[in-house]
């Protein structure tokens, strides 16, 4: 009986999982199609779809700045609220109206990018396992976002605000928590007091502040969080929203009058989509949707649980506390602790398995993760149990020994990125890593200067969209001599190609590989001393610049 039940629940989980996977796959396809179009217009580095979280922050700042300006002129009284907003909108049409409209439209924009961000992270399966934290905090933040927006509309005290006030109060009254129904405050004009109004004003500053606090908490567990979108996108969206504000200013819908019922209302559907449902169905159903929806979203990371690949492991005899893994980890999973093994170093690296996604970028940063045969065992100071450098070395040799010709290429790709099986052909070896930045530059040195292949191609996710956030940036900077560990200057850059492609880029990738191999044929075999001058070894603060690999796609 127990076995039967377990089997049934297993089936249930399997079916549920299959359903989720179908949703994810179709969602991923939808995003890929749209992002492809945007990649053509914006290019993969500034494609807004790869910066949705940062855009949310940006719109928040626009809303805050415009809100501060509005606050200067806003009067917190029943009479004064509507009047002061009308003054801003009509008398100050050149500035106050723009500020008001920006305030409204930027907050609508924030809802759009936040929901897209949520959908995208779901579709890319970046919400389970270690990343449950960001997911859960994000879902909770939605309530603060909506409360902020709805509260803002309330303050205008026009007919829309009246509608919102009455319906919100009646919605909350469904919960058995109030001694006296909240809706009594909006019975008629006599019932509303200026003081309640001041409370609303206070809430509309307080709740957004909590939203901001929540946003900070939301990004705590990732390193170097991007909270600013690319400058071009900031300018573009701000300009577009300002033009909209100038041409189509936000208007109030007539003063509130609680002695008359609101008949027709023009709601802001971004924030108020649920409100008509409260009328059409019932407050209870609306709570079911809102509350139930939130709960469902929140348990998603455990439907099913994700068993993360084994976390990175530190080998103390090989770790001197240089801190490069700590600097490179995208998930703040590596910290430096005081030494425990008695060696005369100050610190040692330590991995928190609860935060490690097994991306391997730490190994790519470790100076001891070199493939050159050595006296001691081939273990790096920080290594991945499932794909140790020992294994990467073996696979590198296996992939290259049978290659023949003068255009042999070893392709290192990444598991979340484009599928590489289509590239395997005569003269091309393929090896997949958890992330392209899991590869120490010394492996590239090893392959080229020890004649294992004529060229190395690194294939990763689209430039702005590394699945592990920083892999593409770190790889480019290591190749360009801007981030440790630098690729040795003596390695000829014309024998290195980088290809940062979205899943839709298979054809371009094949073309790039063919072109690369053609140039390699022209070059002839590697000869020591025939390389270009090494790049400047001085640390540069130019982040995000392209690598100086000769062949760059994306």
């Amino acid at each position: 009986m127990l076995r039967y039940l377990v089997a049934q629940s297993g089936d249930e989980i399997f079916r549920r999982r299959a359903l989720l996977k179908t949703i994810q796959r179709s969602g991923r396809l939808a995003f890929t199609l749209v992002e492809h179009a945007f990649d053509h217009a914006f290019g993969p580095r500034i494609n807004p779809f790869y910066h949705l979280g940062a855009l949310s922050f940006f719109f928040f700042w626009v809303v805050t700045a415009s809100g501060i300006y509005l606050f200067i002129f806003f009067e917190t009284s029943i009479e004064g609220a509507y009047r002061s907003v009308e003054y801003l909108t009509h008398e100050q049409w050149y500035l106050g109206s723009v500020a008001r409209s920006l305030h409204r439209y930027a907050s609508d924009a924030m809802v759009i990018v936040v929901l897209l961000h949520l959908a995208r992270e779901f579709v890319l399966d970046r919400y389970r396992g270690v990343r449950w934290y960001a997911w859960i905090t994000g879902v909770l933040l939605l309530w603060f976002l909506y409360a902020s927006g709805i509260g803002g509309y309330w303050l205008v005290w026009d007919r829309l605000a009246q509608y919102i006030a009455v319906v919100t109060a009646e919605w909350f009254d469904w919960l058995p928590i109030f001694g006296e129904p909240m809706a009594r405050n909006f019975l008629n004009n006599a019932a509303v007091s200026d003081r309640f109004f001041s409370l609303l004003s206070f809430l509309h500053i307080g709740i957004p502040l909590f939203l901001l606090l929540g946003m900070w908490i939301h990004i705590l567990r990732i390193s170097v969080a991007k909270t600013n979108p690319p400058r071009a996108i900031m300018i573009g969206t701000l300009l577009a929203l300002t033009v909209l504000s100038a041409l189509y200013p936000a208007l109030s819908q007539g003063p509130a009058d609680l002695d008359t019922v609101v008949s027709v209302v023009r709601p802001d559907w971004f924030y108020l989509a649920l409100y008509p449902l409260i009328d059409v169905w019932s407050p209870g159903v609306a709570w079911g949707i809102a509350g139930g929806g939130t709960l469902l979203l929140m348990i998603l990371p455990w439907l099913p649980r994700r068993r993360e690949a084994a976390a990175a492991v530190v080998s103390l005899p090989n770790c001197n506390g240089c801190g490069r893994c700590f600097a490179d980890c995208p998930y703040s999973a590596v910290i430096m602790l005081p030494r425990t093994d008695g060696l005369p170093y100050d610190s040692q690296a330590s991995v928190n398995p609860d935060l490690c996604t097994a991306c391997g970028i730490c190994v790519g940063a470790c100076p001891t993760a070199t493939p050159f045969r050595r006296k001691t065992e081939l273990i790096a100071g920080i290594d991945m149990p499932l794909l140790a450098i020992r294994t990467i070395r073996e696979k590198t040799l296996t992939a290259t020994t049978k290659l023949e010709g003068q255009d042999r290429v070893l392709v290192y790709g990444c598991q979340p990125g484009i599928d590489l099986t289509g590239l395997a052909q005569k003269g091309v070896g393929v090896l997949t890593l958890p992330c392209v930045a899991a590869l120490t530059p010394s492996f590239i040195d090893f392959v080229i200067t020890r004649h294992h292949a004529d060229g190395v191609m690194l294939v990763g996710c689209a430039a702005g969209d590394c699945y592990h956030r920083l892999g593409v940036d770190w790889t480019e900077q290591r190749l360009a001599g801007q981030r440790d560990p630098y690729l040795r200057g003596r390695v000829p850059r014309e024998r290195i190609a980088t290809a940062w492609v979205a899943p839709s880029g298979a054809k371009r990738l094949t073309q790039a590989l063919d072109a690369f191999r053609s140039r390699l044929r022209d070059m002839g075999p590697y000869q020591k001393g025939g390389s270009l001058p090494p790049p400047s070894a001085s640390p540069s603060s130019n982040h995000g610049e392209v690598s100086d690999a000769a062949y760059r796609l994306g």
């Binding site: 439209y105 009646e170 300009l239």
Partner: protein, 168 residues
């Protein structure tokens, strides 16, 4: 050069689409929350029912037993009666309820908030309320002719201090 123009046009197109969606859905489509030709009667009051038991005077012995700072001569029970309420329009019963007192000890006020959409026009309105189980029938009654215009909010309130129902 052409490529650049194409790129910027593409970007402009997407920005335009983005703000158009925002501009449109921030105020449209309109939604009819309440029919334009009807009026709204809101019944809402907060009234504490009478205590279930009569207040009584403590005897001398009872007072002796109490500590000196707690010798209150008159004691009333905490629990209150539920409030019975009826609303009739033109002789037809529109709403009837027995409103329990709020709170764990059932000693708070009884509250009600109900909305009724009615066609605009003239009605005979009768409201009745009973706030004590010890009184057999309704101890507050009011009847009046009322005319409501479309969109009007007509409030039925109750305030014991002013003597009964308040119509606004």
């Amino acid at each position: 050069m052409l490529k650049k123009i194409m790129r910027y046009s593409g970007q402009g197109l997407f920005y335009g689409l983005f703000v158009s969606v925002i501009g449109y859905f921030s105020v449209a489509p309109a939604y009819v929350h309440f029919p334009a030709d009807q009026a709204l009667i809101k019944v809402s009051f907060s009234h504490a029912g009478q205590p279930l038991e009569e207040c009584r005077v403590r005897t001398a012995e009872e007072l002796e037993k109490l500590p000196p700072n707690m010798r209150v001569p008159v004691v009333c029970g905490r629990e209150r009666s539920p409030v019975k309420f009826e609303l009739e329009l033109d002789g037809e019963l529109l709403y009837r309820a027995e409103l329990p007192p709020a709170g764990l000890s059932r000693d708070g006020a009884s509250t009600v908030y109900q909305r009724f959409a009615v066609p605009a026009g003239r009605y005979r309105l009768r409201t009745r309320l009973n706030d004590s189980v010890r009184v057999p029938d309704f101890n507050y009654t009011q009847e009046t002719d009322v005319t409501v215009v479309p969109g009007q909010v007509f409030v039925v309130d109750f305030n014991a201090h002013t003597g009964g129902f308040v119509f606004k």
